[in-house]
């Protein structure tokens, strides 16, 4: 074809290509042979993570055209996005749901890579960069939660600062560096804005590029076959033969599944955004409003739960040492298990660890969604005592029910399935404790219960205990103290042994 017979766009293309000389590289990369079995739906999560990263960058830039990174104005600018700008709410929702999907897909990708032994020789560096990318992704999720500068963001920062302060010797200085000053304020938001918008995305993008480059250079991990061991001497040759004999060009024979899944995941993000809407912002970041129940975003709930259940003496060591050990194990994994079996059929320990981790994280996250350890701060004023518990009660017992309600007992103790779960439900407390034991527990506390001796007058205690004594099911006897009846009858103890109601 002569130069003059070409259309204008072909001439433009030639003009650019003769200078950039990039077409051959792109064609070779696209058509490089991959093992035919890797054209599988199991291999789509890495590309989907990258597509979600790009989606986050696009929606993030759009949000940045409106968002004001100032402690005094950030919340107002989010309100403007949600309510005043056309489809501002949708973009916020896309960014928020995109973030959730990205963390989820990255975790699924990591699980798949682990199960398929893809971290083994010669792909150790790819795995290491992947671990780093996971940490960056979580960093993006946390800093993004802070840019949504509401009450949850404010107190989430407070939790972050309190954890940081537990670092020995330099904890106090680290807190000031984290917050950019003595308190959570304008400087804090500005530095997290710089992290979330410049530092972390640039790092993510650069390292994701390197990650993909390594996949291109080393080839995609082949489908693991039991018994085909990874050996340092023979692996590269075997992989080369595999791609020669059973190879298919990545484009178009394998890539269409990636493309389909990417479209599906982006559509899912848009669907969730449209149906469920944006996340928050909750109340204004005013630290003088103490009527708040802060909670972290979904992917940090498991930490929130772990912090509730750790005994005080273990908290600082666990907080500071476990993350180091966890990340350290991810880093050394390809070096201690870099050779040998790839197939999950022959790696029971790896599969078991994965299952235990998954169940553990899922359980902690599930507990975090309803936080049974937290008092229900408004239960005392909004949850009624069930009618049946005071239906036929004496005036004293009713007075006790009032005390029970007015002294915030409901915040920690449920009645009729409503109320806090911090302490035990009291629907059948009279079958577990005798009157004396209830008095002792109320006045002196114990277990995980504060002592109410100073907050209750003796008549209030009498009334409260009278009410609590009525709380037992109709078909069960309340607990009684055998020695008490003996003392009351004023007789010497009978000779035969007394049968206790509580063995």
């Amino acid at each position: 074809m002569s130069e003059h017979s070409k259309r204008w766009y072909q001439r433009t293309y030639d003009w650019i290509e003769s200078r950039a000389q990039i077409a051959d590289f792109v064609r070779e990369s696209a058509e490089h042979p991959v093992p035919s079995r890797t054209a599988s739906w199991w291999y789509v999560f890495g590309s989907a993570s990258f597509v979600l990263l790009l989606l986050q960058i696009v929606t993030g830039i759009l949000l940045a055209t409106v968002y004001v990174p100032s402690a005094g104005e950030a919340w107002n600018s989010l309100q403007a996005l949600n309510h005043h700008l056309p489809l501002g709410w949708f973009l916020r929702a896309m960014h928020g749901w995109g973030s959730n999907f990205m963390v989820a897909v990255v975790l699924v990708h990591m699980t798949q890579v682990f199960l398929f032994g893809a971290y083994k020789f010669p792909r150790e560096l790819t795995w290491l960069i992947g671990v780093f990318l996971l940490l960056m992704t979580l960093g993006m999720a946390f800093s993004g939660q802070i840019l949504r500068f509401d009450q949850d963001a404010y107190w989430g920062l407070g939790i972050g600062a309190s954890i940081t302060s537990r670092v020995p010797w330099i904890g106090g200085q680290l807190v000031h560096l984290l917050l950019g000053g003595p308190i959570i304020a304008g400087a804090t938001l500005s530095r997290f804005f710089a992290l979330h918008v410049f530092v972390l995305p640039a790092t993510l993008l650069a390292f994701a590029g390197l990650h993909i480059w390594l996949v291109l250079k080393l080839g995609i991990n082949e489908w693991p076959t039991p018994g085909r061991l990874v050996r340092r001497e023979t692996y590269l040759k075997e992989y080369h033969e595999l791609t020669l004999r059973h190879g298919i060009p990545f484009v178009p024979q394998a890539v269409w599944k990636d493309a389909m899944f990417a479209a599906a995941i982006v559509f899912a993000v848009a669907f969730c955004a449209a149906v469920f809407g944006p996340f928050g912002p909750s109340g204004t970041p005013d630290p003088t409003i103490t009527q708040t129940v802060p909670k972290p975003d979904f992917f940090f709930l498991w930490i929130y739960t772990a912090l509730a259940y750790l005994p005080p003496s273990l908290e600082t060591p666990v907080l500071l040492i476990v993350p180091v050990i966890g990340i350290g194990m991810l880093i050394v994994l390809p070096f201690v298990a870099g050779l040998g079996e790839k197939s999950w059929y022959r790696r029971p320990v790896g599969v078991l660890v994965l299952i235990v981790l998954a169940i553990g994280l899922a359980t902690l996250t599930h507990l975090g969604t309803y936080a049974p350890w937290s008092p229900h701060m408004s239960a005392w004023s909004e949850d009624e005592i069930p009618d049946r518990y005071i239906h036929a009660s004496t005036p004293l017992e009713r007075q006790g029910a009032l005390v029970f309600q007015a002294k915030q007992c409901r915040n920690c103790h449920a009645l009729g399935g409503v109320g806090g779960q911090r302490g035990p439900a009291l629907d059948s407390v009279a079958t577990r404790l005798t009157e004396d034991q209830i008095i002792r527990q109320v006045v002196q506390g114990g277990g995980n219960m504060p002592a109410y001796g100073a907050a209750l007058s003796p008549p209030q205690v009498t009334a409260l205990v009278a009410f609590l004594n009525t709380l037992y099911p109709a078909n069960e006897r309340p607990a009684t103290d055998a020695s008490r009846s003996i003392a009351e009858t004023d007789k010497p103890a009978p000779k035969e042994p007394i049968e206790s109601t509580r063995p």
Binding site: S18, Q21, S70, A71, G72, W155, G158, I159, S162, I163, S165, R166, V167, G171, G172, Q173, V175, H176, L177, G180, P182, I183, A185, G186, A187, T284, P285, P287, T288, T290, Q291, T292, P294, L307, A308, L310, P311, P312, E315, W373, S374, P375, M377, W380, A406, K407, Q408, C409, C412, Q444, G445, G446, N448, M449, P450, A451, Y452, G453, A454, A455
Partner: protein, 229 residues
């Protein structure tokens, strides 16, 4: 695709045979290359020094972020009550908005003396809420509970509520505040030795201060340690 002549010219220029290099010229260029790297390292360090100083700006000494500030008139606080008071943090920028407003709980004992608690739970900094009916501070995050005197009652905190140093200056209640209290940066300046603030309060006495009431060191009787399970 066939390539025409023009493209080839740009893409692959004819390799020209290099003229034989003088060994001394070669040595000089190698030396200059190494020198250029050294100069760049020196310039980089020169630039890095102010950058590091800039980044470390938030750091202060032990008491760098503490200042005495007024917290209202003494008579605003009724003896025997605990109420939420707010103040504007002494270190603040104009763009901080409402985040520079800080809350604290002022407890005035029946004898007229004061204790000022931080709202931040000693566990992980969440805002504790005061319930006057049950005389308890409860934390909504992980269920930390404190008695009216700030001592730990239940839950994960390993200590009582943080307290601010406070004094009465004439008719004004003053507290020493400025930073978010955490286990490392506590609200009150901890002194080595006796652990009380008495000695320190006396040393800061000034002509303007007409009367100093030190904060009580012992919690009120009634809600006390043996009751904690």
């Amino acid at each position: 695709m066939k390539t025409d002549d023009k493209r080839t010219q740009i893409a692959k220029p004819e390799a020209q045979s290099a003229p034989p290099l003088d060994q001394r010229v070669d040595d000089r260029r190698t030396f200059l290359f190494k020198l250029s790297i050294a100069i760049n390292i020196v310039v980089g360090l020169l630039i890095a020094t102010p950058v590091v100083r800039f980044l470390l700006d938030p750091l202060r000494g032990k008491s760098g972020y503490r200042t005495w500030i007024p917290l209202g008139k003494v008579n605003d606080y009724e003896p025997g009550t605990t109420i939420l008071a707010t103040y504007r943090n002494p270190y603040t920028d104009s763009w901080d908005g409402e985040t520079a407003n800080v809350a604290c709980y002022v407890r005035r004992q029946l004898d007229g003396s004061f204790t000022v608690f931080a709202v931040n739970c000693a566990h992980l900094g969440c805002p504790v809420r005061w319930f006057p009916q049950s005389q308890l501070f409860l934390c909504p995050c992980h269920g930390g509970a404190y008695y009216a005197d700030g001592s730990r009652a239940a839950g994960p905190p390993e200590r009582g509520l943080f307290t601010y140093s406070c004094r009465v200056d004439g008719e004004t209640l003053m507290i020493q505040a400025g930073q978010m209290p955490t286990l490392a940066n506590q609200a009150r300046l901890e002194l080595p030795g006796d652990g009380s603030t008495k000695r320190w309060v006396h040393t800061t006495n000034s002509q303007l201060v007409r009367g100093i009431l030190p904060c009580p060191n012992t919690p009120n009787a009634g809600t006390n340690e043996p009751t904690i399970g």
